[in-house]
Amino acid sequence: MSMNAEGASLSLAEHLIRQSEQEAALTAMDAVLEAALAGRFTEDQCFRLFARLWTLKRIMYYVYGGWAQGINLNEYPPAVAYLFGKQIYDESTQEMQLCDEMLRRRWARTQKQLFAHPYAQFGTATRAGAYIFCLRALANYPQNVRIAALNLGPKVIELAWTEKFAKFFPDEALHAIFQSQLAETRSHVLMGKFHVEKFIQKHIDAELAKRLCAETRRDYLFFIEETARFALGLEQERAGTVAVSGDID
């Protein structure tokens, strides 16, 4: 990669991270943390929060499965496949941690019951669904672009609110879980930076990365708003009716 191209990619990575950090400065998760700090966060609300976060983490298998099918390993050096594998493993670890804690606290007695619990259901006509399907659709794009979209978008926002939870969440066990996830989530952001700096060289890839990053960021922010509303027991958005006016035949 020439110096010019490298310079351009570097600024793209920084640009995407900066945009995501701005969005991450204040999110709906701050309201959750505020409630917890004020002692207004009940055990049931905690369960709601963990169940929603767990649902997202476990549905990421669906996203990564689609991406892995579309990855052309010969196009990239082994570092790309390694880092991608590591990211899948980390997400899996975090999913396990959330599930462990819910079982340990007896919010559900078995994993099977947890899967069936209304708090942990994955709904397609939800913000979580919109976010997941948005990510899954990135399977059609090259690995460098989709990693830029995820790791320099939602991952930056996730890192920001996880850092706050890791510092201030009053429940010691939960605080320790968030704290333990920080290094992994931070490594995903750095991996995204590495991908963009090294493998986004064409103008079209850079433009795609910007557009897709903005979309994933928006959808993730909607997801965390939905999660915070659910956890705090605020009124949920209602799914709209989809009217199909065209003749499908």
């Binding site: 396990m96 994993q111 333990s180």
Partner: protein, 88 residues
């Protein structure tokens, strides 16, 4: 009552113990809340009534008896009996 613990210098973190323990709803194998996220066995473990993790662990010496430090992978014959393989 004797328990089990994971010898991290031998464990490959393949997570088979986690999977089988979760499968039978004992849930004693957990991910530790440290940045290394090593697997640990907590006090929900019912060993010696259940030895299912020992059956599936592929890494010799990676699960040991807490009291004695004795390696249980592969499971010694007196541990791996018909009655103990799966919890009854």
């Amino acid at each position: 009552m004797p328990g089990l613990k994971i010898a991290h210098d031998k464990c490959t973190e393949c997570r088979m113990c986690y999977v089988v323990c979760r499968e039978i709803n004992i849930n004693a194998v957990v991910v530790s809340a440290t940045s290394q996220h090593l697997l640990e066995i907590d006090d929900r473990c019912t060993y010696p009534k259940c030895t299912v993790c020992l059956m599936y662990c592929p890494a010799e010496g990676s699960i040991v008896e807490t009291d004695t430090g004795r390696s249980l992978v592969p499971p010694p014959p007196e541990v791996w009996t018909e009655a103990q393989r799966w919890p009854r």
